[in-house]
Symmetry: C2
Subunit: 657 residues, 2 copies
């Protein structure tokens, strides 16, 4: 470790202004805060100097490709805290920092205002004139002349009352401050911000297995089938269609149905078992179609305002071409065999993990990056990354920075269901969105605590939640053997608490609720290991509710970001009440967490969180039913019948119509 002296000996006169505690900053400035195009970054800092000196503070920032810094004056919040904002209007890496200097002119004005003795006033008007001279010397043209005139007047005027007026001229004071020498100026470290496109903040994901999308029983689904089904998914209002891996599936040690260790003839294997003689991570499973089919699917999705998200799982089967082409990318066991994946006593002999620490890591990492670049070339701009937490953080930081440098539109969703620090680290190092613990949070207290953290903890600067009520891997407790109404509740929670959410679509629409056994979260007859037939036209499908909820999300900016979330009181633990707001658009949701019983109670709304006055009249319109209610004050009665719907989704307006 290096030496570090407690305080450096100063060889030159140090800046006298002080900046402390610039926010936002992540890990002392090591990582970038995240925004999307069109948002603002509000920066605050402590700025001060010794004694009675006044300071001025300036926020400096620049966008990708800017060679110079833009500046905006910060406003004083009192107690030596300062604040300003800037808008980020394009993709890429932005930078910001704070400068602070001693504002002699303001200090002079403050003191001058308090002077009364005429001789004293004249003397200090001349001192002011010296300060203004220095400003004039920094100015050009008319400004310079105006300042020089001002300095002259301060020197020559004799009448104390008139001098006071001259000294206080606000427009000239402003002009002078703009050109004032920045005495004792200092600047903070520079902090990075990464700016994504809007979908990073607001997206609705639908996951389905292409091979199950065939309309004909017994036929393997294809990418063309997915394309044919796009209309239905778009009509439900989704904008990201996420496909599990579409690559050739290994045959050696292929898993059978229900994750059976051996497969039988006709078993199709898991899409996450990537690699066969037909190819690996850049190939397409022959029964799904061709690269041409894929490009057509991606284009068709784009035409409908959707895009395809691909699943990148950096692991291989024993049949993957890399196993023979690059034997040194895999760990060997003492008997010379390749180390398969395991979590003792469980073995996953169909999967070989990649050794990221191989001596040949440079070419390995480059090849993995080329997988992403290949699919970007095929029209993909969204990747759902499988288990990123089992690969080194340094790899992801390198990979995402590299991809983003060329392709700043690319969105990476981290599928890391693991410890909080690890999930946060992945988000810090560049993942755009992250899976969350929402999947397992079900009581009002659990949900309130968790979403309060997601919306208000400092980690929100980098951790963007993407909330899923189910995935092909997870049929959570609250959906096991649960009625379709339970799925409706989870939909409303995910879609209206979080701006980014997704569903494992067909299973969710149809309320698939059968667990494989009493302990695991696996589905019975999981689609991971077999082709499913989903009767998507079934009458009790959730599709109409999903479509309605997504339409509400699209129509209401309040629901398109996470930070405005506020929770409101209820006197019934089965009723959860929250609001989101964007400018004039305010949405209040009251959800019934109990899918089996009518629940009623009083809600106690913090009206100011909705932009309403404390005691006035207001109107709520249930966007699910169209019903309107005139309400007064903060306390109102609510009754919800799960058979009629999981929630009130109220648009809020002040007054009564």
């Amino acid at each position: 470790m290096n030496d570090l002296s407690r305080a450096p000996v100063r060889e030159t006169l140090a800046p006298f202004a002080i900046i402390e505690d610039v926010r936002p900053r992540i890990d002392d400035g090591r990582f970038a805060v995240k925004r999307v195009v069109g948002e603002e970054i509000e920066v605050s800092a402590d700025g001060f100097a010794h004694g009675h000196e006044r300071v001025a503070c300036e926020l400096r920032y620049r966008g990708p490709g800017d060679t110079s810094w833009r500046a905006v004056e910060m406003e004083s919040l009192g107690n030596d805290r300062w604040r300003a904002r800037f808008a980020v209007d394009r993709l890429g890496t932005w930078q910001y920092g704070v400068a602070c200097w001693v504002d002699h002119l303001s200090a002079w004005r403050d003191a001058f205002l308090r002077r009364t003795d005429p001789a004293d006033l004249r003397m200090h008007a001349r001192m002011g004139a010296e300060l203004v001279d220095a400003c004039a010397a920094n100015a050009q043209g008319a400004a310079r002349e105006d300042l020089a005139r001002w300095a002259r007047a301060l020197r020559e005027e004799d009448d104390p009352a008139r001098l006071h007026e001259i000294a206080m001229e606000p427009s000239r004071l402003e002009l002078a401050r703009r050109h004032a020498p920045r005495a004792g100026a200092t600047q903070s470290a520079i902090f990075p911000a990464w700016v994504d496109r809007e979908r990073a903040r607001f997206s609705s994901w639908y996951e389905c297995f292409p091979r199950s999308m065939s309309p004909q029983p017994g036929r393997h689904g294809t990418l063309a089938d997915v394309e044919a089904g796009l209309g239905r998914i778009a009509a439900m209002g989704f904008d990201v269609l996420y496909l599990p891996p579409i690559h050739p599936i290994g045959r050696t040690k292929r898993k059978g149905r229900n994750n059976s260790p051996s497969s039988e003839a006709g078993d199709v294997g898991s899409p996450w078992g990537i690699g066969a003689r037909e190819g690996g991570h850049t190939a397409i499973h022959p029964e799904l179609g061709t690269h041409e089919d894929f490009r057509r699917l991606a284009a068709a999705a784009r035409e409908r305002g959707m895009e395809i998200a691909l699943d990148i799982a950096l692991q291989v089967t024993p049949d993957h071409p890399w196993v023979t082409q690059h034997p040194d990318w895999f760990r060997r066991r003492p008997d010379g065999s390749v180390q398969f994946a395991e979590n003792p006593p469980k073995k996953y002999e169909d999967i070989y993990p990649i050794d990221f620490e191989t001596r040949d890591w440079r070419s390995l990492w480059q090849t993995l990056r080329e997988v992403f670049e290949f699919w970007i070339g095929e029209g993909v701009e969204v990747f759902r990354v499988d288990n990123p937490h089992t690969k080194p953080f340094a790899f992801w930081e390198w990979l995402i920075a590299g991809i983003h440098r060329e392709h700043p539109r690319v969105i990476f969703l981290a599928e890391a269901f693991t410890r909080p620090r690890v999930m946060h680290r992945l988000a810090k190092l560049g993942f755009t969105q992250s899976y969350t613990y929402f999947t397992w949070r079900s009581t009002r207290q659990e949900l309130t605590e968790y979403f309060t953290e997601l919306a208000h903890d400092p980690s929100r600067e980098y951790f963007r939640p993407n909330c899923w009520p189910n995935t092909p891997d997870i049929l959570p407790r609250q959906l096991r053997d649960a009625p379709i109404e339970a799925f409706a509740v989870r939909l409303v929670l995910a879609a209206l608490l979080a701006a980014n959410y997704g569903i494992y679509g067909p299973a969710f629409e149809l309320g698939e609720n059968r667990p494989r056994d009493d302990v695991s979260e696996e589905y019975l007859a999981s689609e991971k290991y077999e082709i499913k037939r989903w009767d998507l036209d079934r009458p009790r499908s959730l599709a109409p509710l999903i479509a309605k909820v997504n339409a509400i999300r699209k129509a209401h900016p309040a629901l398109q970001s996470d930070w405005s979330l506020a929770f409101h009181g209820t006197d019934n633990d089965q009723l959860m009440c929250w609001s989101k707001r964007a400018g004039d658009d305010a949405i209040l949701v009251v959800a019934n967490l109990d899918p089996r019983h009518v629940q009623s109670g009083w809600i106690d709304v913090d009206l100011r969180a909705l932009g309403l006055s404390d005691y006035g009249a207001w109107t709520v319109e249930d966007l699910l039913t169209g019903e309107r209610y005139p309400w007064w004050g903060s306390r109102n009665f609510v009754m919800l019948d799960p058979r009629r719907g999981p929630a009130h989704v109220f648009a809020v307006t002040p007054g009564h119509p």
Copy 2:
């Protein structure tokens, strides 16, 4: 501003272990945490790696002059947080940091424990043997041989049950971990800690004006008079005797009594008006005595376990030698005169501020530093610095670091009654102790909030409060025209809430309570401008109570530091209840904030804060009166009569005698 790329492109395989959020750290590591000799620094950090890798973490530290680092293994607190401590056993700058690496051996053991298949066990015993071989290669002598034997046993044993036993041998596992290669190791930044002597944390200050210390009315007091009075002050239990400036006092524009703008014959002026033809900051006022007298006073104080604190006020009168020797150290007004001190419309024409930004700043700063060094040479190790916040922060950082490098025992008390950020900055940059807002905090709520911040906010790592109920500048509202009992309350609050405290002695002992006018906090006939006669033997003096309180402080380690402070409930806002604890030593104080009336009520003590069980019997002994009470449980009744005393100061013991 410099460029900063979002994420560096990796040219070599980066460390895989991650360290985040090392605590304590101040301003991202810019400033040092503070401790005193004999204390510990508890360091915590997040440490983790990707996937199922296990990590180990180590705290590294070194003291002043150490050329190598010492290390202590950190313990896991769960959730990827780690902790360890080290003791600081000598003065000066210490450094600490955290290292973290991937612990393959622990991961291997964890997985091995869960293996059941015999062939699998044998295979993985061999993989373990390879890890142990690598440890053996790092070891010497017997350790190396032992590890090699262990590796051999792991390779050769065939029986699964026996293999399990061999693999799990705890002592060998420990030995191997100690010599294990540190895969993927990373280390945090290095953080500084400054270690003072114990008096920085625990001190009792007594302030008096030497010129008022003459026993004969009409004679100017001397340093010899102060020396003669040392016994009385030592008997009251003080360990720092703080003298206002002892230098020659200017005559030009000298202030008269009660801060009158003009002085009359015989007016002695303010000690803070430093500099006359007799000399400046290194001279001694001729009527006080000689440097020889001062050295004798300092030595006599040391003999009594006390030390002299000098007041350093970096300002001059028009008569100070520097004004003629270094005219460029002062600002000029447009008429060529030197700029005097002012706070418009008030003028302080007897005082010239020093221009720290003078072009000649190097020689100015060096000269100012030599003032401190001069008095260090005369035996002073404690400085009370007057208004440090009106001088540049950079000056103090340079000065204190420079002094501390040569003289680490020196204590600097910052007399900065100003905004919080400014007071904190002075503490961060090196001031040992700081005056506080205690002087103006008087209600239970104000005191509780403020001392909770002082004792528990992260700023406690660098901001050491020194609490004063009065100063020569401040007769606060609660002491204006107040009875002596009000002084008793303030004494108990300062001395038992804070480990460092001080009083402006004679005025406090005697309950001097007459304000100059209805608005200011100045004393009537302030000692700052005239010589006072204090009748220190007056019967109603607080001296006996002060002596008792200081004796209690000295006898009870609980009262000698600030961090253990806990507040307890009372049902009467005039009763304030708190405790402090150090090991087995526990003190519980109940103070009556009302100096005029008997107050009674129930206190509700958090017994665990006192190290007691929740429902047991306990005994309190009032250290002021000697009375003992057997108590049960957390709620007990208390009645306090201000005429009998301001508080119960209970020593707490478990059980009943």
